[in-house]
Amino acid sequence: MTKSSSRFGAFGGRFVPETLMNAVLELEQGFESILNDPTFEKEMRDLLVNYSGRPTPLTFAKRLTEFAGGAEIYLKREDLNHTGAHKINNTIGQALLAKKMGKRKLIAETGAGQHGVASATIAALLGMECKVYMGEEDVRRQAQNVFRMELLGAEVVPVTSGSRTLKDATNEAMRAWVAAVEDSFYLIGSAVGPHPYPQMVKYFQRVIGDEARAQMIEQTGSLPTDVVACVGGGSNAIGMFTAFVEDSAVKIHGVEAAGKGLDTNEHAASLSLGRPGVLHGSFSYILHDENGQIIPAHSISAGLDYPGVGPEHAHLKEIGRVRYTAVTDEQAMEAVKLLCRLEGIIPAIESAHALSEAVRLASQGSVAEKILVCLSGRGDKDMGTIREYFQGESE
């Protein structure tokens, strides 16, 4: 009998073609074998510390706090990781596991390209082959990241099916895995997919919250009153939240992308506006019509532009432990500007969704309260989008 549960309450499971079942079971065994393996732990720690630069700092955002005029705001600086986001935590863990399982070929999907870059990076470091599936539309929008992945030695495969974005790239990566299941490892970039992926991605990302919790206590003497993270698939969020779920006094907020508004059809708020269903191997909240056809998501941030969410978030919503809310493109872009001007930090647009909500909470809070925000990535990758957005606004 296996140790890790395939369900989070009613959510999760593994809804994959039979061809993949043994691979998924083998992966589960592989994952469980590293849980108490000091050699693996040591190898992973070494890369997290000496390669990616962990622990990442906790920064008190003094001027942003003054601007909000209420609670203190603290930033967990995942943007300072190698490759610029929390994504590397997970790719280090999964690629080391792939190596341990004797698989030398990595398959990955990517939206904006951050997970693709992190996968290509770790593949180069460990001397593995890497094929990244990316929607044709994203290939066009993120030409620079495509070049980065290729420079790192990965092959980028443009996906021309469906809406040609992350959802379709994930479909194609799964198809590629079905075809090459015997020698390939599918490195999923978020806390989604069939069991054991959501458990495994949480395990590799929980370092974010574990560090931040200790840093809050060390730097401020107590736990935060609120913890905030953005939620697309939800990997930085689950990585941050896990350390605080048992701290019942800590309020936890997950921030989805409201895109052009929750009253429009263009958003990516699976938890706020979706309903349970099966997408990409697990039962969770998804965006689909009354016939069960998946509805393409919209967000200005490619990393949140996904019509599903990790099953553990569905469970945390269902039991009421986490409050899920949503922030529009416009509010997120406003937060990008704020952090640039007040703190000298250019955030990823994904992370700016969490920042926007944090500023709103801080402005309503008292000075005794402390809000911890996961700054999941830096905005270098978003220069094109940011420039286009503000140019459009000034015209």
Partner: protein, 264 residues
């Protein structure tokens, strides 16, 4: 005996073609079902178009996309089946659907409505054995078969999957998605023998079967041969003509020629 089991016993063609329901139109699908029944196929799989068909290759993906853009829903697929039944056609029909459209429809309701519309069984490509209890229970209530898939990678899973199989066991010929391909898994023969020895129901093989010689070869090794993408490709080539009253007959004849060739 279920309609499906009976079909395997009495039908000698051993062919199970697959159609994307509602592609290129509801009317064309009905015409194609009649055509296939006339040619004496064992059963027909009717594919419910889905936005994210991870088990399918490009030919079926594209056909499903077009069916969806025509607004085809599960209710339309039931209506198609009902229509051919009302027209006196008794060919066994199998509903091929990804899980999410079934969940959205409601598992209890989908079982009842499928039975009413005249379906004999379900194939759900993204519902592995471990997740299949809920649907199986509902289908059992209305005596419909949940037809499981087994793959060359299933190995020790084959025995337990085959043991609970109803209707037939769908053997996936090779790794990868549906589509036209030149060769099958190198261990196909031993894989089919393994399935055969664990199964009390007929076994059928599919994925990548596209030529008459492949059909001939596989018929000797399995009780049924499923032809999907290769047939859908024929339909795609006749897409326009199938929807025009004055060109329809020529298009259907071309497709009939293809089916006859498969059966030759």
């Amino acid at each position: 005996m279920s309609r499906l089991a009976n079909a395997f016993q009495t039908n000698q063609t051993n062919l199970i073609p697959y159609l994307v329901a509602g592609y290129p139109s509801v009317e064309a699908t009905i015409d194609l079902i009649h055509l296939l029944a006339e040619e004496g196929v064992t059963a027909i799989e009717l594919g419910v178009p889905f936005s994210d068909p991870v088990a399918d290759g490009p030919i079926i993906q594209l056909a499903a996309e077009k069916a969806l853009s025509n607004g085809i829903t599960l209710s339309d697929v039931f209506a198609i089946a009902q229509t051919v039944r009302d027209q006196g056609n008794t060919i066994p029909l199998i509903l091929f659907s990804y899980y999410n459209p079934l969940l959205s429809y409601g598992l209890e309701k989908v079982a009842i409505d499928a039975e009413k519309a005249g379906f004999s069984g379900f194939i759900v490509p993204d519902l592995p054995y471990e997740e299949s209890d809920l649907l199986r229970t509902q289908l059992e209530q209305v005596s419909l078969d949940l037809i499981p898939l087994v793959a060359p990678t299933s190995e020790e899973r084959v025995a337990k999957i085959a043991a609970t199989a109803k209707g037939f066991v769908y053997c996936v010929s090779s790794l990868g998605t549906t589509g036209v391909r030149q060769s099958f898994a190198s261990n196909l023969d031993s894989f089919l023998q393994q399935v055969r020895s664990s199964s009390r129901v007929p076994i059928a093989v599919g994925f990548g079967v596209s030529t008459a010689s492949q059909v001939q070869e596989l018929r000797t090794k399995a009780d049924g041969v499923i032809v999907g993408s290769a047939l859908v490709k024929q339909v795609t080539e006749m897409e326009q003509a199938l929807c025009k009253e004055d060109e329809k007959q020529v298009a259907l004849n071309t497709i009939r020629g293809f089916v006859k060739k498969l059966l030759s």
